[in-house]
């Protein structure tokens, strides 16, 4: 039996900004119906990698394919098959939620009836009704994040790229988001997910890639990563052992948060 073609294939990806190498020789793949977590401290190269997946940035070297399409050659086609959620929600503040979704539906080529039906379905599923006609600038962080998810999945993409989607969210909003992501995974979507909350990654991801200074340190299921680090008691400990920094302060001063919002106790 052959395994299905990966929804996302990253091969020897490198990205530099002038003199700064953000990502170096990164390779991984995400299958349909899989949540792949990119885990690493700030500045590890997570956001850069996800932006390249979304066709917003171009690789300096290497190749990235989304549903078989090369992001460097066919960025527009890639974006038709991909929903990208930025870490800042990125909603247009002077548009209402409804106007925003209509605008993006048109950009994705949905006709008026299809757009109306899809927006109504998402408004129900993501509980947008209470604030759907308010301007985005007047929404709370949680409301904005739900609206952002609606925008990202509006065209029912095969691949979801979520850049630290739970950053700044409260317990309930975080749990709501994780449940939504799992539901999308169960519908066969490939999900690339970045976070620096270790426990959140452990809760949500089927596989994890540990990024450090732009390089992939290790990859596998949460259990496999702990085992690879000598049966580390936690993912945090596994990460520390893998970067060889022990339990003391890391040289770059960056930190990985052990607990995600809304996981197992107050933050």
């Amino acid at each position: 039996m052959t395994s299905p073609a990966p929804a996302v294939a990253v091969d020897s990806l490198s990205k530099s900004f002038g003199a700064t190498a953000a990502v170096a020789e990164l390779s991984f793949a995400i299958a349909p119906g899989e949540i792949y977590g990119l885990l690493g401290p700030n500045g590890a190269g997570k956001t850069t990698t996800l932006r390249i997946l979304a066709g917003i940035l171009l690789p300096t070297r290497g190749r990235v394919e989304v549903v078989g399409l090369d992001v460097a050659r066919e960025p527009l086609a890639v974006r038709q098959h991909l929903g990208f959620l930025t870490n800042t929600t990125g909603l247009y503040p002077r548009l209402s939620g409804r106007e925003l979704l209509r605008y993006f539906a048109r950009l994705h080529g949905l006709d008026r009836d299809a757009a109306t039906a899809r927006i109504a379905a998402l408004a129900g599923a993501l509980e947008l009704g209470g604030f759907f006609d308010r301007r985005c600038e007047a929404l709370s962080t949680g409301e904005r994040q739900r609206l952002s998810i609606a925008r990202a999945v509006l065209h029912d993409p095969a691949v979801l790229v979520l850049d630290e989607p739970t950053a700044g969210l409260d317990v309930l909003a975080s749990r709501f988001l994780r449940d939504f992501v799992r539901a999308e995974r169960d519908r066969g979507k490939a999900v690339a997910f970045s976070t620096h909350y270790l426990a959140e990654a452990e809760l949500l991801c089927d596989r994890i890639g540990l990024l450090h200074r732009g390089r992939l340190l290790a990859e596998g299921t949460p259990a496999a990563l702990r085992a690879a680090a000598g049966d580390a008691p936690s993912l945090e400990e596994a990460f520390l052992r893998l970067v060889g920094a022990g339990t003391g302060p890391r040289p770059d001063g960056s930190a990985l948060s052990p607990r995600p919002p809304g996981s197992d106790g107050p933050r």
Binding site: T20, A77, Q80, T88, G90
Partner: protein
């Protein structure tokens, strides 16, 4: 309040502000470099305009009893200034009418009559009467009136009876007067208000998008960059048009009411239809042009504040030609229609005044749309996710730069420690920011060395070129830790490249110079000045000396800077064609002469294209040397002055011969480029498309 706290805060704010290189660049470059260049160009154009106007004789028709008319004719015919007659006079059998003056067949008409026999007493008793007809709405007619008044008032001893009792009569109809009044005020208002209408929206949709963190959302949508930026420009242009229309309506009503008040109810009637036509014909192309320019500049900015900093000088730069056009009484013909800002202002004036030609309307519309499209294309390139979302330019800080300058590239940067795989910075191309900064410093040096050149031209010029320009390039290379030969792209060229460069250098001046002299002739005095500054090198040693100073020196020093770090830096951001065009424009600007701007810019483009195609600065230096040496040889032979007196046939023949030689040179350069490519790609070229 403690002074120490105040100083602490002030110190921190100053440090932050001065570390923002773009703000610093705008603060320093614009007042010290761009504004003087623009002012210089404005003064040159206005001076030439005034000089040209002074030399044109006023066409005046004189009618009346023969002896008196002839006497007046003789009096006016004697008037002149700087060797140019004030009047072109006629004594037609049929007196010129007000209609003739209005139609521009004559600039003024004078009807003289004998003194009435019974006249006595009063200041003008016994004087002949002179009735002067002129059109208040025409500049030439106003000039004619002034000259007639001066001529008739001149030469009288105090207390003498005037020879003529002069009455002045304006013949412009009330509608024309209204149109004239509007045409003096409205064009500048329209252009300025359209620009102002585009200003804030352009910032909001570019830098504002980045500041609101919606950029990634926008860029992740499946829409081509061209459609995205065109949509943004259309939105800004719509708001700019709205601003223009509202201001046009408001100003028209204000002028009307003001005129009513001034004339106690008998105000000139205003040509509303013309004002409406001006709105339709001028506002849309102007709005598109300014919206595209401002969106392109706004796309450069990282924040709202930075966009304001960048766009404010651009706003004034756009306003300068419009102001010049509004003040200068220029005619809308020839090149004027194709100068951004000038064309639309003059067209608005002519449409309101009711004498715009179809050709001028088409030319202004087409050129504005063309420039707007070019700016839009630039905006598409600048609104680049790589640049907008990438890490900021990690250039050397001031301290590191000084360390490099003083001690050489020994010290490694932090990035090199972190990333040992990084390319060697000694061979890294200069950045586009460095290129523009170097241009700014070069212009500053030009002004700084001017007193020395005025004191002693030859040593001043040599000092400026070798110490100022070449020294600047060397200091930049050393300070930034780059190899001098790498910054210059100093490589051995192929034989084909050398011969091609010689052919281009020997023919470009012929093609470019003659064509420009034909299409956009400089005033005679400017041509004479240019001839004076090209020494012919009388005598044996003189010729060698002239070649060394005017051909060899700029070929080395100016090329080192312009085809070195400036061209290579711009090439990292622009395509080969774009970099060559931009470098050519900077080269033209740097020469600070509005009349030589086009030919020098075209030559600069040619030298840049040669340097890029051959990947070596040497052929560009050879072409520059050949070009200047040819000019010196012509001056020595005394045949350079023939250019202005050639027939069309002679001129076309020379241009054709030059074009053939130029094409041969270009073919050789292309051959050298192909040969270079076959040998393999060279490192550290920009990433843009090839020429």
């Amino acid at each position: 309040m403690k002074l120490a706290q105040v100083m602490l805060v002030a110190g921190k704010e100053l440090r932050e502000t001065l570390r923002d290189r773009r703000t610093l660049a705008v603060m320093v470059l614009f007042p010290l470099v761009v504004y003087p260049l623009v002012s210089l160009a404005t003064v040159q154009v206005l001076t030439a305009r005034i000089g040209r106007g002074d030399k044109v004789p006023a066409r005046v028709s004189i009618s009346g009893p023969r002896p008196i008319a002839e006497k007046l004719h003789a009096r006016l015919a004697a008037r002149s200034h700087d060797g140019n007659p004030d009047f072109a006079l006629s004594l037609p059998p049929t007196p010129a009418t007000a209609a003739d003056v209005r139609a521009g067949r004559v600039d003024a008409a004078i009807a003289v009559e004998k003194p009435s026999p019974g006249a006595s007493g009063g200041g003008a008793a016994g004087a002949a009467t002179a009735r002067v007809l002129f059109d208040e709405t025409q500049e030439r007619s106003r000039t004619a009136r002034t000259r007639i008044e001066e001529a008739l008032a001149a030469g009288l001893e105090p207390g003498c009876t005037p020879s003529y009792a002069v009455t002045i009569e304006g013949v412009a109809p009330r509608t024309a007067m209204g149109g004239y009044l509007l045409s003096r005020i409205l064009p500048l208002v329209i252009v300025v208000m359209v620009m102002l209408g585009a200003f804030h929206p352009a910032i909001d949709i570019t830098a504002g998008e980045r500041e609101r963190s919606t950029l990634e959302t926008t860029l992740s949508a499946p829409i081509p960059r061209s459609a995205l930026m065109t949509g943004k420009v259309v939105a800004v242009a719509t708001l700019a048009m709205l601003s223009g229309v509202l201001n046009l309506a408001s100003m028209s009503i204000t002028v009307l009411e003001g005129a009513k008040l001034a004339a106690a109810g008998a105000a000139p009637s205003l040509p509303w239809a013309n004002a409406g036509a001006a709105a339709l014909l001028v506002i849309p192309p102007a709005a598109f042009l300014f919206a595209s320019v401002m969106v392109a500049i706004g796309a450069l900015a990282r924040s709202f504040k930075e966009a304001q900093t960048l766009l404010t000088p651009v706003y004034f730069m756009c306003m300068a030609p419009a102001l010049l056009a509004a003040l200068g009484d220029f005619e809308l013909r020839g090149a004027a229609a194709f100068i951004p800002g000038v064309g639309v202002t003059l067209l608005a004036r002519d449409v309101i005044a009711g004498h715009a030609s179809v050709g001028a309307i088409v030319a202004v519309f087409a050129s504005s749309v063309g420039y707007g499209a070019a700016a839009l294309a630039l905006a598409c390139r600048l609104y680049d996710s790589e640049r907008l979302l990438g890490a900021d330019d990690a250039g050397l800080g001031l301290r590191a730069w000084l360390r490099h300058l003083l001690f050489g590239p020994r010290a490694t940067t932090r990035d090199e420690v972190i990333n040992p795989d990084l390319p060697n910075t000694a061979d890294a191309p200069p950045t586009a920011g460095h290129a523009l900064a170097l241009f700014g410093v070069a212009v500053l040096l030009l002004f700084a060395f001017l007193p020395i050149q005025k004191w002693r031209l030859v040593p001043g010029l040599a000092l400026f070129e070798w110490v100022g320009l070449l020294g600047l390039t060397a200091v930049y290379a050393r300070g930034s830790g780059r190899r001098f030969t790498s910054v210059l792209r100093l490589r051995k060229p192929s034989l084909a490249a050398v011969v091609g460069a010689i052919l281009i250098g020997a023919s470009a001046w012929l093609v470019v110079g003659l064509l420009v002299q034909w299409v956009l002739p400089a005033p005679k005095e400017v041509e004479e000045h240019i001839r004076r500054i090209i020494p012919s090198g009388e005598g044996k040693g003189g010729f060698t000396f002239a070649i060394l100073l005017v051909a060899f020196t700029p070929a080395i020093c100016e090329e080192a800077l312009f085809r070195g770090p400036i061209l290579r830096g711009l090439r990292t951001r622009l395509s080969a064609l774009g970099a060559a065009v931009a470098t050519g424009l900077l080269f033209g600007l740097y020469h600070g002469d509005v009349w030589r701007f086009i030919p020098v810019a075209v030559l600069g483009f040619a030298f840049s294209a040669i340097a890029l195609a051959t990947d070596s600065i040497v052929p560009a230096m050879i072409a520059h040397f050949t070009n200047n040496a040819c000019l010196i040889a012509l001056a020595r032979a005394g045949i350079d002055e023939a250019g202005t007196e050639m027939t069309v046939r002679q001129r076309l023949t020379l241009v054709a011969v030059g074009a053939v030689v130029l094409a041969a040179g270009a073919a050789l350069i292309a051959h050298a480029r192909r040969t270079r490519r076959v040998r393999g790609p060279e490192p550290s070229e920009g990433s843009g498309p090839q020429m």
